[in-house]
């Protein structure tokens, strides 16, 4: 932060860049998940591998049931009050939410692929106790393989290693399999993509859209290496090109900060 301080940039933290729109005056407008708008003549995308999103189990119609009974996060526990809930997963978040929601939900089922759990021993023990006392239903050696319902989830299909397939009626299905990075909204910006990365011209790391640059892990080109050093190099060259787009009437001069310092700061 100290390094960037002299340049006095603005920061928008904890928000995700969602939309990119060209303005009538030629500038770009980036809008975030909270509605913050940024206007600029050029945009650099340095999104790495993207933002972390929940890992979705490979169930055919899972997307159809999103917001209709499938929830990848427990945002508001009271949401599940007096409802039937099926949680799937075997890690800490599956165990923690099972313990928490056992008190909230009317009926709670935890489905896990194996008999052993990898979570904190404390939580594992608590879940086993809840199952023994009948407060929750614990189904191990099993996976949720199907969802059904008419406009709203009403049951999950469970495939058990030895008992075969059966259905558990439920209002909610909460799969908790961790997070995985996804390019997310950036993939919808009309940029040329190659295997989930943004294709760029190595002359200046510009994309197929004028004024939009992509640097670091988010871009790709022949010979690309995902390294910090390469990201800095790409940023440096992209800045030279961006300067010309942003300030077409000004001359770009090359300086060493070790020789001339930074304008306004003592050397």
């Amino acid at each position: 932060m100290n390094q960037i301080l002299p340049f006095n940039p603005g920061f928008t933290l904890g928000e995700r860049a969602e939309h990119l729109e060209k303005q009538a005056d030629g500038r770009w407008c980036v809008t975030t998940s909270r509605g913050t708008k940024h206007l600029a003549p050029v945009v650099f995308i340095a999104g790495g591998l993207g933002s972390f999103e929940p890992r979705k189990p490979p169930i055919d119609n899972i997307e159809y049931f999103e917001d209709k009974g499938v929830e990848y996060f427990v945002r508001y526990p009271e949401f599940f009050k007096d409802r039937r809930v099926v949680i799937a997963g075997g890690g800490d978040s599956a165990l923690d939410w099972t313990i928490y929601l056992a008190e909230v939900a009317r009926e709670l089922t935890l489905v896990h692929r194996r008999t052993e759990f990898r979570g904190a021993p404390d939580s594992v023990e608590k879940v086993q106790e809840l199952a023994k006392s009948g407060k929750i239903k614990l189904i191990t050696n099993a996976q949720v393989t199907g969802l059904h319902g008419n406009g709203k989830l009403d049951g999950v299909v469970i495939q058990h290693d030895t008992e075969g397939e059966f259905t558990v009626e439920t209002d909610y299905f909460v799969p908790l399999f961790g997070l995985t990075p996804k390019l997310g909204p950036i993939a919808e910006w009309g940029l040329e993509l190659d295997k989930n990365a943004i294709a760029v011209n190595t002359l200046d790391y510009s994309t197929n859209i004028q004024g939009i640059y992509a640097i670091g892990d988010v871009n790709t080109y022949p010979g690309k290496l995902k390294l910090i050093l390469c990201g800095f190099h790409e940023a440096t060259l992209a800045c030279q090109s961006a300067f010309k787009v942003a300030r077409p009437d000004q001359k770009l001069s090359f300086k060493y900060t070790t020789v001339t310092g930074i304008e306004g700061l003592p050397l």
């Binding site: 890992r55 979705k56 189990p57 490979p58 890690g91 896990h112 990898r118 961790g178």
Partner: protein, 108 residues
């Protein structure tokens, strides 16, 4: 320099790739696949944190037991079977000569 061993990888279209694998470079099966440009992401760099290197072991080789970290990651992965392993946790050694693995499907 040690002799290379052979490792066979079946890709997701079931195409067979017989790969020469060096045993003296500290390589693992994920890195081997990447070196031969097979479709393995290795997103986490081999830290057992992404499961993008998930493979099924087809041959009867006796491999080192998975660590807790590997098992924990496999718990969060999909299409997991009894013969599932994370390629990045399989360090290439001489005993693996003739090993056959198949790339697991990629999940969303």
């Amino acid at each position: 320099m040690k002799e290379d061993i052979k490792i066979t990888v079946f890709d997701r279209d079931n195409e067979r790739h017989d790969l020469d694998a060096p045993t003296d470079m500290g390589m693992n099966v994920m890195e081997l696949c990447k070196a031969y440009e097979l479709p393995v992401e290795g997103t986490c760099g081999g830290m057992a944190l992404c499961a993008s290197c998930h493979v099924y072991v087809l041959s009867n080789h006796i491999l080192p037991e998975p660590t807790d970290d590997e098992l924990a990651m496999l718990d969060q992965a999909f299409f997991v079977q009894d013969n599932s392993r994370l390629g990045c946790q399989l360090k290439i050694r001489e005993e693996m000569d003739g090993l056959e693995v198949k790339l697991a499907p990629v999940s969303q």
